[in-house]
């Protein structure tokens, strides 16, 4: 995803090594994906679902 769009940065985080980050994002199982520090994706989900969920962060909040 990061390679496909210059606005996207993707970081693979070793959860046991960066305990502070794991605590901050409440990582109790892996893989766990966090998008823009607020959207959570648990486990290995199918590609279309992953992308749709990740894209929720780019949508305007509903008022």
């Amino acid at each position: 995803m990061a390679f496909s769009n210059r606005h996207i940065t993707a970081t693979s985080v070793e959860a046991t090594e960066f305990v502070d980050l794991s605590r901050k994002f409440r990582v109790t199982g892996v893989p766990k994906t966090i998008v823009n520090d607020r959207i959570e994706i648990l486990g290995a989900v199918p590609e279309p679902e992953f992308i749709e969920t990740a894209l929720q962060t780019t949508e305007e909040p509903k008022t």
Binding site: M1, H7, A10, T11, E14, F25, P31, E47, I51, L55
Partner: protein
């Protein structure tokens, strides 16, 4: 002793042969008071780079190379930044890429070195609409 077996090296060498564009792996580590996994990350990257002459490792000092840290947004170490022909691919790794973490590293290197995106065409179309910064963190463990 190496982390990769001779048979692992042979398989990897075959996969990495598809690389046609130079890939640089920037490795940010801290010598004094740094993470214990820094030397492990260095060894992993060294063994990977030894398998293909288009892959190189560039060492960065986490404490001293502050401009690079800022440019690539590196806040922790060890950290790896994947470059394609000197340009940032925005693919990063935090921690030593061992165990299950090693496969995504190899995939990132292959992507950077070949430019071949494996995403479905629909996914690529959806991603093209992203026009604001998106930060993705994937937490995993080596075992």
């Amino acid at each position: 002793m190496g982390l990769l077996s001779a048979s692992d090296e042979a398989v990897l060498r075959q996969h990495l042969a598809a690389i046609d564009t130079p890939v640089s792996l920037l490795l940010f580590t801290q010598t004094i008071g740094g993470s214990e996994s820094g030397p492990v990350a260095r060894q992993v990257l060294g063994e990977l780079a030894a398998l293909n002459d288009k892959i190189s490792v560039v060492e960065k000092n986490f404490v001293l190379d502050t401009e690079d840290r800022t440019a690539y947004g590196i806040e922790r170490e060890p950290a790896i930044v994947v470059l394609r022909n000197g340009e940032d691919t925005r693919m990063r790794f935090l921690g030593a890429p061992t165990g299950y973490e090693f496969v995504p590293l190899v995939e990132a290197v292959l992507l950077a070195g070949t430019g071949k995106v494996e995403l479905e065409p629909d996914s690529q179309t959806r991603l093209a609409s992203v026009s604001a910064p998106m930060d993705i963190k994937v937490f995993s463990t080596p075992t």
